[in-house]
């Protein structure tokens, strides 16, 4: 069989580019598969995950990996769907009318395309990041449904229809602040960026703190994952808090042995009074923290 050159499926491969990850972004195979699904289906990719797991970064690296330009639409609580398509700059037009500048009679020169409008009219394929879609109003995702589905919209003021020349690759991120409507979800390919496991975390820490002492790092990670495992915690520490904590430990020159016995600078990890008290009382009661990952059992998160 090895002699039969290109595999039977290769003709279909050539129809779309494949994303393989880039040197600057450590993507899990599940993520790569999800990105490729979205590419193949020409559907938006919805990425969810805890804050600080690299959702926004993904779009930049997908664009880089595919060699396509990136446009971003950062959603705010006041964002409206129509803002992404175009804005009719009435104020500018009024200003021009008063002072006799510009071509006031031509409404088209006062239509400013939004991010969606821009990627639709671009002559080459683009990657569009719609960042933190859950920040907007509950109805927002439904409002852009048709535009993303059909890749076209009409400018009401002029009656012009904007049709996508090349279907863009749309990446949508959500922090889970609001539930997204089912009709919207059905049209997306979904990926959840899970919290990094210990191995991945070592790679991430290495990027920020390349020179941390090995024994210290082991203790740090052990304590960190142990903390995340504690069910009493109201807010589990995240990656960025771990990075801050390591900075504090390194600056203070804490020895790994001290870390074995206690958790210094707990404030860097726990941002909630009740959480701090819970852990303190646990330690005061003589509660033991594990000495190795083996002791922690199957818990990795």
């Amino acid at each position: 069989m090895k002699s039969s050159p290109p595999s039977p499926a290769s003709p279909s491969f050539s129809r779309f580019e494949r994303f393989q990850g880039t040197s600057g972004y450590i993507a899990s195979s599940a993520l790569v598969d999800a990105v490729n699904c979205a590419l193949a289906l020409e559907r938006p990719l919805l990425v969810k995950g805890e804050p600080g797991t690299g959702k926004t970064l993904l779009a930049r690296h997908v664009a880089e990996g595919l060699g396509l330009p990136l446009d971003a639409w950062h959603i705010k609580s006041t964002s409206k769907a129509v803002d992404g398509l175009y804005v009719y700059d009435t104020v500018q037009r009024l200003n021009d009318a008063r002072f006799g500048d510009g071509n006031v009679r031509d409404i088209r020169s006062y239509i400013r395309l939004g991010p969606l409008g821009r990627v639709f009219t671009a002559t080459s394929r683009q990657v569009l990041l719609i960042d933190e879609i859950d920040k907007a109003d509950l109805e927002f995702p439904n409002d852009i449904l048709r535009e993303i589905d059909e890749m076209r919209f009409t400018v009401l003021e002029t009656g012009d229809e904007v049709v996508a020349i090349e279907r863009p690759m749309v990446i949508i991120t959500s922090n889970n602040e609001k539930e997204l409507p089912d009709a919207f979800l059905r049209r997306c390919v979904f990926h959840f960026i899970d919290f990094p496991d210990v191995t991945q975390m070592r790679e991430i820490v290495a990027v920020h703190h390349p020179n941390v002492e090995k024994t210290l790092l082991e203790q740090v990670l052990l304590k960190f994952y142990w903390l995340r495992d504690q069910k009493e915690l109201r807010k589990r520490p995240s990656t960025s808090e771990l990075i801050d904590w390591i900075t504090a430990l390194v600056r203070a020159g804490i020895a790994p042995e001290r870390l074995e016995a206690e958790i210094p600078f707990m404030g860097a990890l726990l941002k909630n009074e009740q959480d701090t008290r819970a852990i303190e009382s646990f330690v005061a009661r003589g509660g033991k923290t594990p000495k190795s990952f083996g002791e922690m059992g199957g818990a990795r998160r």
């Binding site: 069989m1 090895k2 039969s4 595999s7 039977p8 499926a9 290769s10 003709p11 279909s12 491969f13 129809r15 779309f16 195979s29 599940a30 598969d33 999800a34 490729n36 699904c37 979205a38 193949a40 289906l41 559907r43 919805l46 969810k48 009435t90 104020v91 037009r93 009024l94 009318a97 008063r98 889970n176 602040e177 609001k178 539930e179 089912d182 979800l185 059905r186 049209r187 997306c188 390919v189 979904f190 990926h191 959840f192 899970d194 069910k231 009493e232 109201r234 807010k235 009740q274 199957g298 990795r300 998160r301």
Partner: protein, 409 residues
Amino acid sequence: MVFLDFFYALREAGLKVTLQEWRMLLTCLEKGLHDSNIRGFYHVARACLVKSEADFDSFDRVFARYFEGIEGAIELPPELLEWLADPKPMDELSEELRRALEHLDIDELMRRFQQTMAEQTERHDGGSRWIGTGGRSPFGHGGHHPTGIRVGGAGGGGMAMKVLEDRQFRDYRTDVTLDVRNVKLALRRLRQLTRTDGPVELDIDETIDKTCREAGEIELVFRPKKKNDVRLLLLMDVGGTMDPYFEPVSRLLSALHEERGLRDFKAYYFHNCVYERVFETAQLMRKQSMTTADLLRTYGERWKLVVVGDASMHPSELTSSRGNINPRHETETSGLVWLDRLQRHFERSAWLNPEMPEPWAMAGTVRTIASLFPMYPLTIDGIEQAVKSLVGARAETAKAVLAAGSQAG
């Protein structure tokens, strides 16, 4: 087709998979995105079919059940053999693929498969590399046959199955976990934004827009301020059978305290059942208490009532006029009557039960109380449903059981 059973198994497990998503998956498989291995297939299927990390665990369990045995080299599930023996099922299959498949002898395929499995003795982290690099191996080749996916992938499948065994997404199930943030999200729906009353404000954006559209004629636009009109009254059972649920209940309470959106929020405590008095603290001290009659006078019917309790007690504690669990707090009126009064007084109410039995297992006082209040489990899903019933369209409640009780009062 057997493959379709997987779709129905997912739906049975409560995942809202639709045909649209199923088509997406088939398209991906047709394009060979699964790389002919079960891990790839697992990733692709999950990306296409599941839209929330809360459903990952359910998906994993169905997947594991359905494709169980793929990992074990010797025991091939009969349906897999069936597929192999009859390689024609999908209409998406191109002529080219079909022809390629015909060259594959089933015995030869099986032999090589077993051989590869034998060579790969340990779990290989990058399992997909073993067999599935773009169909260069016979199994990659066979793998592009929709039925062949699992065969091709079986070698690398260990990883996916390992993941499934670990049930690493269990923590994201919304019907189990309850942390403050989750609860807050669930409570977010507890909103009724109204613009009906209150002072008006100048809508600047709308004013500018209108003015410009009117070619500079100043046009002022006013609108009433938006605000949340929901006022929430929480009654909580404490002590005794509620002790094991201290954690989830306190999380609900802190989420409610942190919820800034509410127009008003008040919490009172009771023990076992609501009798003539409710208490301001969990210590249930008389000097920090209020009669339930006063409670009904103080809080108007527009307040939303949420009761948290396991609703489990001796029947006499609910229905007897001397049923108060604390003999010093003698009462003339039974707990059931008080509950009925509460339920009748407030337009909307809900009961959150940390120990919610299955509907068929409901018995005794739980059953009685559930016929009075819409009852939901104290989980994220339960809280969401309760919130929906509090602010959404009016829900019907059966009141049959109650009729007898209220006459007794």
